[in-house]
């Protein structure tokens, strides 16, 4: 075959398969929502999954938030002191964390920590016929397995992002006040005046909620769709990280431009 045709057909194939996957992921998403009532009626299933996605991600979130906050403090100080406004360091740290780094870095870490675990677990359940077995017992795997994990992810993400931002601010404080010597009062008061609850804190929460939906549904879909082999599951896990990360960054841009325009 003509090499140009080969390339073209390759591109076409890629595009159609992507669109197909997007469609079936959306279908899974809708089914998950439809079956949500069942997972809420038996809330313990969701609580169990919050433990595995949320609580288990806590350590990595807290440690990275602390370091991100400290680095922000240091970097911010070196730049701000040139303009003689090193008191604004609190504002810089808080705004950077609340608006961007909190939701985005949390989502990226979540995809790596909890997302991969979800994909691998569901992929293996599929490979070992556990999902089929459930189907044959007249129990919908979407209601019993997918939906509780979905809501656990959606609930955990904003909580983790809030913790990330708070711990990050404390990290920034630790660098700015005791180490560099910025005034304690100025640090907090500047922050207090310039950070708006509605614009910054709530918008950050909305972002992390959207990221929670995206990351969790991607992880669930990749697992649910994985070929039932060892190779299939491992590739699905990799795809979860790549797709989630790119989706989070893309969504972040879209959400930010919406929020800024208002």
């Amino acid at each position: 075959m003509n090499p140009i045709f080969k390339i073209l057909s390759n591109i076409g194939n890629q595009v159609t398969s992507r669109i197909w996957r997007l469609g079936s992921a959306t279908r899974l998403f809708c089914l998950t929502l439809i079956y949500s009532s069942e997972s809420f009626r038996r809330i313990h299933l969701t609580i169990r999954e919050i433990y595995f996605t949320g609580v288990m991600s806590l350590i990595i979130i807290v440690v990275s938030a602390f370091f991100v906050g400290m680095v922000l403090g240091l970097q911010g100080y070196y730049t701000l002191q040139k303009y003689g406004s090193s008191e604004s360091i609190g504002v810089l740290v808080a705004l950077a964390l609340l608006r961007e780094l909190g939701p985005v870095v949390t989502a990226l870490l979540f995809a790596g920590r909890a997302g991969t675990a979800i994909t691998a677990e569901i992929g293996l359940m599929k490979a070992t016929e556990q999902l089929s077995a459930m189907e044959m017992m007249a129990i919908s795997p979407i209601a019993r397995i997918i939906s509780p994990r979905f809501w656990a992810g959606v609930i955990s993400m904003p909580i983790l992002a809030s913790i990330f931002s708070m711990v990050g601010v404390m990290g920034g404080y630790l660098v700015a006040v005791p180490i560099i010597g910025v005034d304690h009062g100025a640090f907090w008061s500047q922050m207090n005046v310039n950070v708006d609850f509605r614009i910054d804190v709530i918008n950050g929460l909305i972002k992390s909620f959207v990221f929670g939906v995206a990351c969790t549904i991607i992880a669930l879909y990749e697992g649910y769709d994985a070929p039932p082999t060892a190779e299939g599951v491992s590739r699905a896990t990799t795809r979860t990280v790549v797709t989630s990360s790119l989706t989070v960054l893309g969504l972040d841009f879209i959400l930010t431009s919406f929020m800024m325009s208002n």
Binding site: E129, Q130, S132, A133, E135, M136, M137, A138
Partner: protein, 267 residues
């Protein structure tokens, strides 16, 4: 209301895309009997079980379970039918995050509102039937292949199903476990008054306990009959299968152009 045949397959065809896996298959599974479906690997035996369970839809023909056409049921209807079925998967398909006890209790907890004390008694009863009451605290990863299969069997019969389906129950088992499973299939079937459908390629075992056997080859029923009839059968395919000959109507080689052509004209 109760039909003589609890499961009936009529003129069933199924396939993926242009490839037809089953062509015009008809089978009946009478109540209370153990029926085996035999055939080479990859001839779509397991698919027949999935068609009975309503996990996939036939291209033509129909499967009737307890007088109801499976693929014409809505979700609710299919789930209703599946409650009458228990299925033992090839590798057990135990839920790895639950203990043996919880695995067997799972269908009861999902489908009934029985008090926990009664569920406990029932689970222990089911586990006792497969001889694993002592293992109820273990996790599935701590079980051997044969034990896992027995736990899965206990789970399959948890709700006293009318139909028990076995997907390759002997695959990868040692002779002792095999004999145990073999014995269980027959005793459970008779004790529960259930109907068993067994998909397997183990000739010796199937012939030892089945009431009736279907041979599937090339997408259609190649032979059928009681074990006694079949072992005397002169049909070349059945002969090859029963005696395990490597070449015969089922060729050793996969469909291919001539060897010479492949060697010299490889592109």
């Amino acid at each position: 209301m109760a039909q003589k045949n609890i499961v009936e397959i009529k003129n069933l065809s199924f396939g993926y895309g242009n490839f037809m896996l089953h062509k015009d298959i008809s089978m009946v599974f009478p109540r209370g009997k153990v029926t085996a479906i035999m055939g080479g690997s990859g001839c779509g035996k397991t698919t027949i079980l999935r068609l009975i369970g309503g996990q996939i839809k036939p291209k033509a023909g129909q499967v009737t379970v307890d007088g109801k056409i499976v693929h014409k049921q809505d979700r609710q209807g299919i789930y209703e039918l599946r409650r009458k079925m228990g299925m033992l998967f090839q590798h057990g398909a135990l839920f790895t995050d639950l203990s043996v006890f919880d695995n067997v209790a799972f269908p009861m907890r999902e489908h009934t509102k029985l008090p926990e004390s009664m569920i406990r008694d029932l689970v222990l009863m089911k586990l006792n039937a497969v001889g694993l009451r002592g293992a109820h605290k273990l996790m599935p990863t701590e079980l051997s292949g044969g034990m896992a299969r027995r736990v899965a069997l206990a789970r399959a019969i948890a709700l006293d199903p009318d139909i028990i389906m076995y997907d390759e129950p002997f695959a990868g088992l040692d002779p002792i476990s095999m004999a145990v499973i073999c014995d269980l299939i027959r005793t459970l079937n008779d004790a529960l008054g259930a109907t068993s459908i067994i998909v397997t390629h183990d000739v010796e075992e199937a012939f030892s306990f089945a009431d009736y056997i279907y041979f599937v080859a090339d997408g259609s029923v190649a032979a059928e009959g009681t074990p006694k009839e079949l072992s005397k059968s002169k049909l070349p395919f059945v002969h090859q299968f029963v005696h395990g000959e490597k070449d015969g109507p089922v060729p050793f080689h996969h469909n291919a152009p001539s060897y010479k052509k492949d060697i010299y004209e490889w592109v």
